[in-house]
């Protein structure tokens, strides 16, 4: 079986439509209104009181579903891609196998929740950025990118969805998210523990892994989708991150990186809007029609 599987060749049937981060960032539309457009602070947090709450929750649930598929693929690849006890300890691979088992259950739970919420498989585009973070050739970078950054994002997302289910009175959503959240905390903890053990005595490798995690954390902030700001639909789940073994400084760093991503996205959107207005004014506007 081939090692180091490229993201372009992930097995999907015709129901799925994949988009890359580049596609997503090229979208000049934005939910972030400028201060001139909005008289009050923008609040995009995913809560039931949002008029579009049901559809927004369905979209996020589908994002969780495809994220779980990619997490399963990532953990499974780590079991296979590295030579046992040469490139990765057997016990690390055993943990990754256990994680793959968890992710497979999460996929099944997410399919049932999507059905419950009125979505079909493949109804929303699949962003493949999660698996891309799982393609590193160094197992330590995989742990940083997948277990600490990706699973860390999962903690934030599941906390938001669990609270949504709780507030809306949806017993299935609240219950299922709570169970999956418990698994994600374990996955992050496994990543943190293995990162420390594998890089013991190799501070350079550890630093490189943590730098990679920071890059992935910024990517996973999805241009401001996850941050402490109420402008972001998903908040930073500080308490559960603490339980998963993140230090206060690490959580603070993720918070800063997420806010940076939000600000950069707002600036990029402003630039795209200005360019569109200029093109419109000069009569040379785009080609869509």
């Amino acid at each position: 079986m081939r090692k180091f599987f490229p993201v372009e060749e992930l097995a999907r049937d015709s129901r799925f439509h994949q988009v890359t981060m580049r596609d997503r960032m090229a979208d000049g539309r934005s939910v972030y209104r400028s201060e001139a457009q909005s008289k009050k602070v923008n609040n995009n947090r995913l809560v039931p009181s949002r008029p579009d709450a049901s559809d927004a929750a369905r979209g996020l649930m589908h994002g969780i579903f495809v994220g779980e598929i990619q997490a399963l693929e990532g953990a499974g690849r780590t079991c296979h891609d590295f030579e046992t006890n040469v490139e990765a300890p057997f016990a690390l691979k055993l943990d990754m196998a256990r994680q793959a088992w968890d992710e497979a259950r999460h996929v099944e739970i997410s399919v049932k929740l999507s059905d419950w919420m009125g979505s079909e498989i493949g109804q929303f585009a699949e962003n493949t950025v999660l698996f891309e973070a799982a393609c590193s050739t160094d197992p330590v970078l995989r742990l940083a990118g997948v277990n600490r950054a990706l699973e860390g994002l999962a903690i934030d997302v599941f906390t938001t969805m669990k609270e949504f289910g709780d507030l809306a009175g949806d017993p299935y959503l609240e219950f299922c998210e709570d169970w999956m959240l418990a698994d994600e905390v374990t996955h992050v903890k496994m990543g943190s523990d293995w990162l420390r053990r594998v890089t013991e005595g190799d501070p350079q490798r550890r630093t490189k892994a943590l730098e990679f995690q920071s890059v992935v954390d910024k990517l996973f902030s999805y241009g401001g989708t996850r941050s402490d700001s109420q402008e972001s639909p998903i908040g930073l789940a500080r308490r559960f991150r603490e339980l998963a073994g993140f230090t206060d400084d690490e959580v603070q760093d993720i918070a800063a990186v997420s806010m940076e991503a939000l600000d950069e996205r707002k600036a990029a959107v402003a630039r795209m809007h200005a360019a569109a207005a200029l093109a419109e004014a000069s009569g040379q506007a785009g080609t869509h029609g």
């Binding site: 988009v19 369905r58 979505s119 809306a168 093109a279 869509h288």
Partner: protein, 185 residues
């Protein structure tokens, strides 16, 4: 600006999304005819700068619909248009306009003053009728929305089923069903 018999769409060229103003116009014309609203001019203004999916309607001599681009979007292929989503979004507000114009909805609050529960009830009543007009809809999506606003229990589901299968309701009847649906057994 695209103009047909009585439906106008702006803008006629899109920069942020790959939408087709002529398709929006055709879908709207078909709905206007099916719903018997042909005596009014319909203006559709699309805000392509936001991916949100709000749709509002102002009713006067002209029916003015303001739609955010997400309302017409194919969620499988971001920035591309979905004919089904376009029909569902336009159909929901055109039916609301028809209800207000047909009588029996005189006491209904302005759209901006509807509670989330009232709004979900009216949406359910509208989408059920769109379903019977042959527009593809996922009933479970609307049931989930209704449950989010009325509760996750049997009374809520019974109210949803009644609204979904109804025709010719007045505002008083619709509001009463919504209230009953929000009362946990």
């Amino acid at each position: 600006m695209s103009t047909a018999v009585n439906v106008t769409v702006t803008p006629d060229t899109f920069h942020f999304v790959s939408f087709d103003a002529a398709l929006i116009q055709r879908v709207a014309e078909s709905l206007v005819a099916a719903l018997g609203l042909g005596d009014r001019e319909v203006v559709i203004e699309v805000d392509e700068t936001t991916p949100l999916a709000r749709v509002t309607v102002d009713i006067g001599d002209t029916i003015t619909i303001r739609a955010e681009s997400g309302a017409f979007e194919d969620t499988r292929k971001p920035r591309n248009q979905s004919e089904t989503a376009t029909a569902t979004s336009l159909g929901r507000v055109l039916l609301r306009a028809k209800d207000r114009l047909s009588g029996g909805f005189g006491e209904a609050p302005a759209d901006s003053a509807l509670t989330l529960a009232q709004s979900a009830a009216w949406e359910t009543y509208s989408v059920g009728r769109l379903d019977r007009l042959g527009i593809p809809v996922n009933q479970q999506r609307w049931r989930y929305n209704f449950r989010n606003r009325h509760g996750f229990h049997d009374a809520s589901d019974a109210a949803f089923d009644r609204l979904w299968s109804s025709d010719g309701l007045t505002w008083g009847e619709l509001d009463e069903i919504s209230r009953a649906g929000a009362t946990a057994p």
